[in-house]
Assembly symmetry: D2
Homo-oligomer: 338 residues x 4
């Protein structure tokens, strides 16, 4: 495993979905900052089960306990550790999954990697639940960034093939919700695309060639279990543009150098350009579905039908939205601390 991200701000995630607890350690977070823990809770609530259309009914509070790194309500410069107890785990739902590999899940390679010692209950360490402490870390990063004038803002671009253009204050349009409900009714799932902007970073952050803006954000965002693609600025669609269309003209605005458009997504040569960093992440349809699927038995080495019981999200995109923002914030703070 290597559940640690970052060069300056090191974020380590630990825990299994049905073990005693999950949590994180943030090493390198700036000292002398006073986080607003109520805001942290509110941020984490956006990811919590049951909080969003399409989400699982597992009713577990993601209440965190901070074990270290805070003193007199301020960060004291040492590793910040937060723990979330696992309280509502229905382990019996998962017993047969030690032998029958769920399609689209980490079960099979994890079994091989660990010689069968993996905690298969609820996906263990590979569960989406491990993103709860990532949101804790991200919430702290977001607050610190805001204190420096840097903002993170995500939105859902599409659910399945449906574009999503919700009213203000909503995260989903009625059409997008309908796509999720239709999938749920079939015992199936749908994915979607999330876009995220990071605004206000100074010019020149990012270390080309291998620790540039794209490299480091991609490393963080691919830490989200269901993400299978990432693109910056005009991304894949840039490949159908001419250079003269895709190049962003430079302008001078209020004595500041900017670009008229932002096809480069805020990163030139791996360094921040001063324009908003814009990226999109592809979130695959969650592999946990109720429909019968073709699996294999490891012990018998035969093909078997698998029906996964338990509670599933029909669409994890709404809950993944704050996770993408959290990863963006972690990467942005790591860049800023260079």
């Amino acid at each position: 495993m290597s559940s640690t991200y970052g060069k300056n701000l090191k974020v380590t995630l630990f825990g299994e979905s049905h073990g005693p607890a999950i949590g994180c350690v943030l090493d390198g977070f700036p000292a002398n900052f006073t986080p607003d823990l109520e805001k942290v809770k509110a941020f984490m609530a956006r990811r919590a089960p049951g909080s969003q259309p399409g989400s699982t009914q597992r009713c577990e509070s993601d209440a965190f306990e901070i074990l270290s790194g805070l003193f007199n309500e301020k960060t004291c410069g040492t590793p910040i550790t937060a723990v979330i107890k696992n309280s509502d785990a229905h382990s019996k739902d998962y017993s047969k999954l030690s032998d029958l590999m769920r399609p689209g899940h980490a079960d099979y390679p994890m079994n091989v990697k660990t010689e069968g010692a993996n905690d298969y209950r609820g996906g263990g360490h590979s569960s989406g639940r491990i993103m709860a402490p990532a949101c804790f870390a991200g919430a702290l990063a977001i607050q610190y960034l805001e204190s420096k004038g840097i903002k993170i803002k995500g939105r859902i671009v599409s659910i399945g093939a449906q574009k999503n253009e919700p009213n203000a204050n909503d995260i989903l349009s009625p059409e997008a919700k309908a796509v999720i409900e239709a999938a749920r009714a079939e015992g199936d799932s749908v994915g979607g695309v999330i876009e995220c902007e990071i605004m206000g970073l100074p010019v020149g952050l990012g270390e080309p060639i291998f620790e540039g803006v794209e490299n480091r954000i991609a490393q963080a965002v691919f830490g989200i279990p269901a993400v299978k693609g990432i693109e910056f600025g005009s991304g894949f669609s840039s490949t159908t543009l001419k250079g003269s269309e895709n190049n962003d003209a430079f302008t001078v605005k209020d004595g500041k150098i900017e670009t008229a458009t932002n096809n480069h997504g805020g990163s030139l040569g791996g360094m921040t350009s001063g324009m908003p960093i814009v990226f999109r992440a592809a979130v695959k349809p969650t592999p946990s579905i109720s429909k019968p699927q073709k699996s294999v038995s490891l012990s018998k080495q035969t093909e078997e039908e698998l029906v996964i019981e338990g509670r599933h999200d029909a669409c994890i995109v709404p809950r993944a939205l704050p996770v993408v923002e959290a990863m963006a914030a972690i990467a942005a703070l790591d860049l800023l601390l260079d």
Copy 2:
């Protein structure tokens, strides 16, 4: 800068486009391996200027000299250093670029980052030319991987909006070539999509959450200057599939567990599944074009028209193809050495 990639195999790239030389150091390459240097040259020739349709006419041999790490024609376990002299640099072409920022290039953030001390000639360290030593490193990695039964195979999926389905032994279809020639005629450029497969890696490589297959390949591939997106398996198009469609059914074939389809692109939960790793990279249209563009003068803080002289690729995708393979090989070998 952080021009070093890798955990086990550390690849450092150095050099500026118009400085004395470019090169690389490979630290951690396995000892006692006999590389075929003629094959290395042949691989590097695929990236060399003038080698491909659409490429610049800069006629520079990418002849490398190995300074360390080989003894009696075998790798001796120590850092392997290769150097490529810069011989045909027309620095005069670039003089005005110390003040006029090229749209779509690294010039502006690099100038800010280095307080104006950057080598702006030909893009300096941010030049695509720095990918020549990356190809040297990749060629060695490919040979070592082949000795272990692991193969890397790239292909061009599209040029601009044109799908590319060439005849065997060609890398471009006549239609794709026509798209490039049309762009060149206009003094413009086009991009494209490259797909790459890594076949034969054992099951269970990759360290979730943050050093998984996707994270590490993405970190390497975003090291290529023009890449603005990456996706694995069904990638962005997975977001329009149902879970039941996107999940890959497990099968048993000749006593080996496989999946019937490969929408997961060879990575489940960040670990190799035993299926080929498949990813696609979006290569933007090269920003170096002959058409007049809107730029700014740093010294005057005014908007200025910029005409870039010198020799340009109308399309770098064919030359980027071996670079993507090289990065895939570097990442795959780093994974294998875990």
Copy 3:
């Protein structure tokens, strides 16, 4: 801060002496290993307060709780997290230490580093108490190493100027104990030298130049707050030998290449030679003493007399002994996993 050690086995320590808890995360520990937790407790008890001659009377059980990484009593390949609650902290003893800097302690630079936000109670994160979770990590590493035939064995070489040659099963000679008791009677403290052997590592581990045996063990052992020096093999005394005396003659013994002596301390050119790795660590007299000392007031920028109240070790060397073994084990396992 950078409270993380290791390349393959990453050990992160967290917590403050008087915060809610201290603990550690082990990322990269081999899967499918069944630790004996009673043995872990017994190992940790050797470091616990009150366990050793000369130690503080703070009566705190170092009972740990494992939050992650174990499943069915086996390591499951994911980060192992252990937490030790802080229960017996007398914070009132420390209140004046926010302003008066203790000589020989981390208080002053930590105050400057954190802009005064540091948790000064009991030394915070810089307390020797943070070595309790290091012992947890080390105990696991020792057990794993033993399963591979590798043994770690420490001993106390001297206390103050007194050589220590105890009877079997004792760690201190009566003379060494007397030195400690004399220091305690004066409200003072004494240091000592600890030697540690690592036996059974295969030949050729260690990555010269900068990640060799000495570099990596030194990095771990200097993580112990009171250690101010380390030497390998004949170390500093090698400087008074001739080359012909210090060189270890090679021999062949039972078909195995060995050296007749071990002045090189098991490391040649930064790589294991197959002989036991032998190193000695200098443990300074603990700076926490009862005698009045010269300090400064940060707020008043004046010199002040300081009397530190509370419970102190007169000699931490006996409690540091298992910590040195733990750090040796962590470094040895990290080397072995290369």
Copy 4:
């Protein structure tokens, strides 16, 4: 291998003693700094063969060529690469050393590690000659540090058992020189102790627990082949002091907090205290001696007498002095860039 040091300033050393060239890459060196290359040469000359009492007669200029990272005589923010050609290598001297292992050298573990593929000529990558590019890197670091008011100063404390108190401008006393000459006359060698001070670093640098001042300097200094021990401040002799003697009283001097003594060697809890960092390194007697020694033949697995021909240093301590300063400077700059 892992011939790379540093977190912010990454220094990679490459090359074999008798290969085409040796050199280094510095990644992360600050941009926009104008090094004085004549001063770099002068610094490197202090390490060059023949430059010092006791050194080998190998007459090789350590002339370096800079391949990258400089533009218009300033650092341009990209990796700085310097290469030193190997011109005067008498490879025939070393032919039998592929089979007969030299006592005290890296030959044996390197042979095992590389399956016999190692470049045994002159010790290959493990040769002291690899310290020439380390001196190049150190010389640049020293110049940059000086521009920030930070100074590095080394001195030889002892040669063999002889204390060294030379006149100003000398590095050795006549008595110390005599010890070296006596060893040379016998075909033997002697070691010594080098002390180094780093003055002027700000308070609070260093990341406890594992990336503190001692950890990071030790990691760099153990990169020097012959170093077998390191101690900070009162180091090993602190173990014979009382806490009340070893603790450094705080004082206020010209409105600045200092300590009256410097037994802590400038590091408290792994962080800089504002006092000079003082450390001593134990340099073993060089293992290359002319006297016959007991070796083994790898091919025959028998004990054999070995006489090493060629040119040897009777004492490498004078040449190691600038190397210790170089490593101190590299570590200090890496700390400063945190």
